[in-house]
């Protein structure tokens, strides 16, 4: 989860920049194709991250000042 989040906003910014560059029409076709490919790749990976459904629910416990994670049973949430 840490890897995703650190790059997600950067990726989004990069993608926005690519979209702007591409729509400006000021770059060569070769560059455009490269940017297009890169943009599509980023858009896909960002969408993929958002569409993922592998969420974890954990309980943060504290014992003697030490933090640790335990699995949290959220089957309750499924019922309702």
């Amino acid at each position: 989860m840490t890897k995703e989040k650190s790059t997600f906003e950067e990726d989004l910014k990069k993608l926005q920049k690519i979209v702007e560059e591409l729509s400006s029409g000021k770059i060569t076709l070769g560059e455009s194709l490269k940017k297009y490919e890169e943009g599509v790749k980023i858009a896909q990976s960002c969408s993929f991250a958002l569409a993922a459904a592998q969420r974890k629910v954990e309980l943060l416990m504290k014992k003697d000042g030490k933090l640790s994670l335990e699995k949290f049973d959220d089957s309750d949430a499924e019922e309702k």
Binding site: K5, A43, R55, D76
Partner: protein, 407 residues
């Protein structure tokens, strides 16, 4: 009682009498008034006056009595006190020793809330400039609430359905009772220290104002204010606005609403990404289309030099056929001219002269034409060419002058 025993009191004596009279006859009372000249001594005792339009009475509230006081005493506050009337000998003053005090009109708790709210507002805890923006997409969210409560169920359920890409770290706390505020404070700190999180939701389901009170405690408000991570406060139902709500970066009315913020963010991002994809496709197609148009235009302009080339070729063809004609004409002219020259030449040919009866005489063997008599002498062999045929002869005699011949 007037004269018989003339007793002279000492000051302390009479003070004691007055004290006894007051304490016996008045004793413990309820008293209503407005606070003025409030002072909190370093000893922890409170000293103030209570007044109404016409009168004033001194009041003291000792540390052991004011220790559990929820609200702050301040000048101008209208209160109802319970206490006993007492005389303070050293100053010759009567006063009320306050045991309990309640604000008049509003509840003590409400007053405490208003007072704390005012204080925190003055300190800038609610300032918009301090509010942190939420991340574009919180992929991992910390939740401070009770693991057994309805709030966590609501949040988990909505996120599971709407944004299952979000990981959750729950820090379970008591959300009401005396320990609750301390636990909430600690949980906010712990989640900040845990790292790896994008956002914290501080939440509790609905309840009475008293139930939600922990979220009005100063340490909770300060923990939220000092949180490095953005905090969404989602406490209770619609009408309750807690200090947590006011301090938080974003506040919503219910736990479900907090979860919906995240779901909405996710959906908005997906839409944005789809938009980006569309723009990318459009731009690249546009770029290719433009180039195609340019190419077609260029092909057109390329065609015209070809045309020009053909034109030139035609021109050249014309010129070359003209040239052919000219050459032929020139040749014809030259031919005619050479013919006439040949005729002229023929007319001048010695042969044609011979046909008219002349002959040519040459000295043999070198066949040099003899034009002058000095060229020959007697005995030379001569060749004479006629119009038809030739003959060889020998020179017998030579004369300088034809007329001198005398045969």
């Amino acid at each position: 009682m007037q004269k018989p025993n003339k007793h002279i009191y000492t000051v302390s004596e009479i003070t004691g009498v007055i004290k006894g009279l007051l304490e016996d006859n008045v004793g413990e009372i309820w008293l209503e008034g407005e606070i003025s000249n409030f002072k909190a001594a370093s000893s922890g005792h409170f000293y103030f006056s209570l007044k109404d339009q016409n009168s004033i009475i001194l009041a003291a509230m000792f540390a052991n009595a004011n220790k559990g006081l929820k609200f702050k005493l301040e000048d101008g506050l209208k209160v109802i006190c319970f206490g006993k009337i007492d005389v303070y000998g050293p100053r010759g003053q009567y006063q009320i020793i306050v045991e309990r005090i309640e604000p008049k009109g509003v509840g003590a708790q409400q007053l405490a809330f208003e007072q704390l709210k005012k204080k925190l507002a003055q300190e800038g805890l609610f300032d918009l400039s301090h509010k942190k923006p939420l991340p574009k997409m919180p992929f991992s969210v910390g939740i401070v609430t009770s693991a057994q409560g309805a709030a966590v169920r609501d949040i988990l359920q909505i996120l599971k359905k709407g944004a299952p890409c979000v990981d959750l770290v729950l820090r379970s706390v008591r959300v009401q009772g005396e320990q609750a505020a301390g636990e909430i404070f600690e949980a906010i700190e712990d989640l900040n220290n845990f790292g790896k999180l994008d956002l914290i939701i501080v939440s509790r389901g609905g309840g009475s104002t008293e139930d939600l009170w922990s979220f009005n405690e100063e340490i909770v408000a300060r923990a939220i204010y000092n949180s490095g991570l953005p905090v969404i406060s989602a406490v209770g139902h619609q009408i309750n606005t807690t200090l947590s709500d006011l301090v938080a970066d974003v506040f919503v009315e219910t736990p479900s609403a907090a979860a919906k913020i995240i779901v909405d963010k996710k959906n908005a991002l997906l839409a944005e990404l789809a938009g980006f994809r569309h723009e990318l496709d459009f731009s690249i197609n546009d770029a290719i289309g433009n180039l195609e148009n340019r190419l077609t235009a260029l092909t057109h302009t390329l065609k015209s030099p070809l045309d020009r080339c053909l034109e030139r070729q035609q021109q050249m063809d014309e010129l070359s056929s003209e040239l052919n004609y000219n050459i032929r004409h020139f040749l014809e002219l030259a031919f005619q001219r050479s013919n006439s020259l040949v005729q002229q030449l023929e007319a001048l040919s010695p042969l044609s002269i011979l046909s008219r009866g002349y002959s040519l005489t040459m000295l043999m063997p070198q066949e040099s034409i003899i034009k002058d008599i000095s060229q020959i002498k007697a005995g030379d062999k001569l060749k004479t060419a006629l119009n038809k045929g030739a003959f060889i002869s020998l020179v017998e005699e030579v004369f300088d002058d034809e007329r001198k011949i005398n045969i």
